[in-house]
Amino acid sequence: MNNFAWLEPKGLAEASQALKEGGAALGGGIELLCLLKDSLVTPATVVNLKSVSGLNGIRANDGIEIGALATLTQIAQHERIRSSYRALAQAAESVGSPQIRNVGTLGGNLCQRPRCWYFRDPEVHCLKKGGAKCFAVGGDNEYHAILGGGPCYIVHPSDLAPALIALNATVSTSARTMALEEFFRLPAQRMDHETALEEGEIVTGVKVPAEMAGWKSYYYKARERESFDWALSSCAVALRTSGSTVQEARVVLGGVAPIPWRSKEAEAALRGKTLDESVAEAAGRAAVAMAEPMSENRYKVALTRNVVKIALLEALK
């Protein structure tokens, strides 16, 4: 870890300026501390966003607005989120361990860097770090992408993002507001970061529209260790139903692509159908129809098919 200056900015403008000058944003600090300790970032200044007002809290009025500094525990325990936007509460509750959820924030969860073990190794100079190749290609890619990969094959680690995209959330930054679905960038589009954030741009919060409260949602996460783990594959679904017929569906996968992966194929397989096990199975198959597994992650195809199926069947319960 390098030495750095500590800044408590008075407002977003000052924070944004400091980031442009080589600062790193600190929310909960869970992710930043990892990056600092492995010297993956060497900021001149650490910019403590907690000193900026207006980034906290969860407001339930017209839909639900969540500040970037809301903790995962606050999201998971929020009564309105639990009752009306179930997938989001489930996603928040599935992150890390209780200690991490008590400190980690919405903003950090959306902006965290990949967990790829080549990216995280300070000695490995991979594509993401300006190197010449993706070491997962021909290497150990057990946890890597089966969809949307190339030339880098990371998977996006966020649990909140798939749930929020399924719930048609928008994200606001210091500069703009956009659909959260538009916020993420594939390696083929942008290598140095996984989001659309420009220099100095800071996530300020997300909003889930009020009408999504009428949808049935669910987040299911398959992992190796239930106590504390990243998703091997996860799926957030939101369904607008009439009786047991699906009018409209949003299906978003986590842990299988470099960004939260919206599966239009699975959504199409659901539209107008009566959701039962065979329809859920068909949607799962559709979700992985375009999958291109690597040497060590073929298992993710069958797993993801079933994860989609489980999320859909549970959403109806």
């Binding site: 967990r115 070491f135 190796e224 260790r225 239930e226 106590s227 091997l232 298992y299 489980i310």
Partner: protein, 694 residues
């Protein structure tokens, strides 16, 4: 007396064989206990080691001039290693005023490496002839190749148990202070205070009696902490060069790449059984790596079964990875998993109940009794009615274990009793976390009939009486007889004084409840102590063979639920029937078994050191990606202490041996998917189901 010594009857004892809370428990849970990591000395510097990033390299030159020039850097060593045989091998070291400065100084050292080709793991190296050692062949009976035709069932397959790590929560490390030019004190996180003292003396060229090693408490070793290691000797050299004490504790990365591991085992195997349910023959080729050395073997076939005809060839594979060290029952969990999986497959191929097949093939009566007992405890008769269709399926499996656990001679315990009634027992053993300090105090308290609070158990110092390293489950059976003999000897002396006070023959005095009594009269322990001649008692006790015994058996049964849609495996229950002899502390003994089962669950479901073929580096040198069980992975654990004799036998290791095998067999019973490769993650489940093997 020495020859007739025996342990007190548990029915009548106050402490021994009962649940004894740890005497140092309160200091550990309050944080008052001082671990090596907690030791801070006046003027102390912080040491750090520069490690090779390359898996194989020669060092052409080391330029530490920039590091030496940094403010706060006090000593630099550039001659620790001239070659790297794995990524993480030690090259240079510094001592500085703070840990941060030390780490920064490492970054300022320029090393010119001549990078060489490497082989990272067994599965790659086994096919490269000059990386494979001469085979050791375990051979008995007929050549299995002549017997397949007469078999009623033949199974064949590839199996793999990966390299696992010790993952001690307290990393390796020391604090070293030179007390004179040829004398030093070393606080060391170790499972062998005398062993470390000897190695430091030899390594530093100072007299053995001038080296004092202290380990009051330590945070796990599992077989990896017998030696001061490169880090210990380096810290001592840095301290000498700096003229100040040095603390050098490994960080988590260093701990995982360079402080030892338990080797892997890859196997190609063909096995057969007869129509009457007997194992007929096993033929196998096994490969594994202990790191750069080609020394490697696992016990196969595992000795719990009678296998009349065997040809098993063990091939050590040289890899550019950290060296093996003993890991809780070295080789046995691997040998057990490989054997028990094959045994289970033979039973299935014969369409025989796997329990019945085991009963026909186990080598002795102890496993026979334990299998029947364990089957009853888990409810083996329910097995047929467990759900075997749909998403969630349940099954049961079993496996057997064996170990030594007898003591080693040479331990010496001293007991001192003062005129003030104070009782002190000292022995140069250490508490690996198993509760050694507690039973040292309890034995003395029991024999003298006093409260355990009155006894000070002093251990963890090389200046105390000799005792060996805590490995091989030998500690209890090595230490407790010496403590017992010292306590008996002290009691004899007390009895003489008490007898004079009570006016009875010494042989009639009984010590209990803080009193010495005979013929209806009694005096207090304190009163007797006050009358002790020449200021008190100082006696020693030697190890006594009659108080301990080697050789234990055990069985474990597991019940699991398999999520067929996700490959998720939930271990519902483990029944651990553990042969244990005379247990000194029931609470700690059960805790040992529980700990073994939990570590076995980790082996079954999660643990897998991954070495990258492309970079030669470990991919998961951290506790995020090298996974061990958390609270949700731990099953209901039913410990059944099965005491077949009344001598002390260590059981630190046997309970870790069969867990993974029992879980694997239960997974097959539940799902019909035979998982021949550990750990049994969702990946391995789908790979096995879809025919992608090792």
């Amino acid at each position: 007396m020495a020859q007739s010594a025996q342990w007190p009857d548990r029915q009548a004892s106050r402490y021994l064989g009962k649940d004894i809370p740890r005497v140092d428990g309160p200091t550990k849970v309050t944080g008052a206990a001082k671990y090596t990591y907690d030791v801070v000395l006046p003027g102390m510097l912080y040491g750090a080691i520069l490690r090779s990033p390359h898996a194989a390299a020669q060092v052409r030159s080391v330029d530490a001039s920039a590091a030496r020039a940094m403010p706060g850097v006090v000593a630099v060593l550039t001659d620790i290693g001239r070659a790297a045989r794995f990524a993480g091998e030690e090259i240079a070291a510094v001592a500085a005023e703070t840990e941060e400065i030390a780490r920064d100084a490492l970054k300022a050292i320029r090393v010119d490496y001549e990078v060489q080709p490497f082989v990272s793991n067994t599965l790659r190296g086994k096919d490269i002839p000059d990386r494979v050692g001469e085979p050791q062949v375990n051979s008995r009976g007929e050549d299995p190749d002549t017997l397949w035709a007469q078999a009623a069932a033949v199974v064949e397959g590839e199996y793999y148990v990966p390299v696992r790590e010790h993952l001690s929560l307290e990393t390796h490390g020391v604090v070293v202070r030179w007390d004179a030019d040829d004398a030093l004190t070393c606080w060391c996180s170790t499972q062998a205070v005398h062993g470390v003292a000897g190695e430091l003396a030899a390594g530093l060229g100072v007299p053995r009696q001038n080296v004092k090693v202290i380990c009051e408490v330590m945070g796990g070793g599992f077989g990896s902490k017998f030696s001061p290691g490169v880090e210990g000797l380096t810290a001592a050299r840095l301290a000498k060069a700096a003229g100040r004490p040095v603390k050098l504790m490994l960080d988590r990365y260093e701990e995982q790449v360079a402080s030892g591991n338990g080797p892997d085992a890859y196997m190609q195997c063909k096995a057969a059984a007869t129509s009457d349910g007997r194992i007929l023959a096993i033929k196998a080729d096994l490969f594994g790596t202990g790191g750069y050395s080609r020394r490697w073997a696992v016990p196969f076939p595992y000795s719990t079964y009678t296998v009349p005809n065997v040809r098993a060839a063990m091939h050590g594979v040289q890899t550019n990875a950290g060296s093996q060290r003993s890991l809780r029952a070295p080789g046995h969990p691997q040998g057990c998993f490989l054997t028990e999986t094959v045994v289970d497959e033979l039973a299935v191929a014969l369409r025989m109940d796997p329990l019945e097949f085991r009963l026909r093939n186990v080598r002795g009566g102890v496993w026979d009794q334990q299998l029947r007992l364990g089957a009853e405890r888990i409810g083996w008769s329910r097995r047929a009615s467990l759900p075997k269709s749909g998403r969630f399926r349940r099954g049961m499996g079993a496996a057997c274990t064996t170990w030594g656990g007898g003591g080693r001679g040479g331990s010496v315990c001293e007991v001192r009793i003062g005129n003030d009634g104070s009782v002190w027992a000292g022995i140069g053993t250490q508490d690996l976390g198993t509760g050694t300090r507690t039973y040292v105090a309890a034995i003395v308290a029991e024999v003298l009939g006093v409260s355990i609070e009155r006894v000070t158990a002093d251990i963890g110092k090389s200046t105390l009486g000799n005792s060996g390293g805590s490995g091989g489950s030998v500690t209890a059976a090595s230490v407790s007889p010496a403590v017992m003999m010292a306590a008996l000897s002290a009691r004899e002396r007390l009895a003489q004084t008490a007898a004079a006070m009570l006016g009875v023959p010494a042989g009639e005095v009984r010590f209990a409840d803080g009193n010495a009594s005979a013929q209806g009269r009694s005096v207090s322990f304190a009163e007797v102590c006050a009358k002790l001649p020449s200021g008190g008692i100082e006696v020693t006790g030697q190890w006594n063979q009659a108080l301990q015994r080697s050789g234990v058996g055990g069985v474990q049964f597991a019940e699991v639920e398999v999520d067929m849609w996700t490959g998720g495996i939930r271990v519902i229950k483990v029944v651990a029937v553990q042969d244990c002899g005379y247990y000194l502390n029931k609470l700690a003994t059960e805790s040992q078994v529980i700990g073994g089962v939990i570590q076995g669950v980790g082996m079954a479901l999660l643990e897998d050191r991954k070495m990258d073929n492309g970079t030669g580096r470990q991919l998961n040198p951290n506790m995020e990606t090298y996974k061990v069980p958390g609270s949700l992975e731990i099953p209901d654990i039913d410990v059944v202490l099965f005491d077949t004799h009344d001598q002390v036998t260590g059981i630190g290791e046997p309970p870790v041996i069969p867990t993974a095998a029992a879980i694997g067999n239960a997974v097959f019973d539940a799902s019909g998917v035979r998982m021949r490769r550990l750990p049994m993650t969702p990946k391995r489940f789908f790979d096995a189901q879809e025919g992608r093997m090792v």
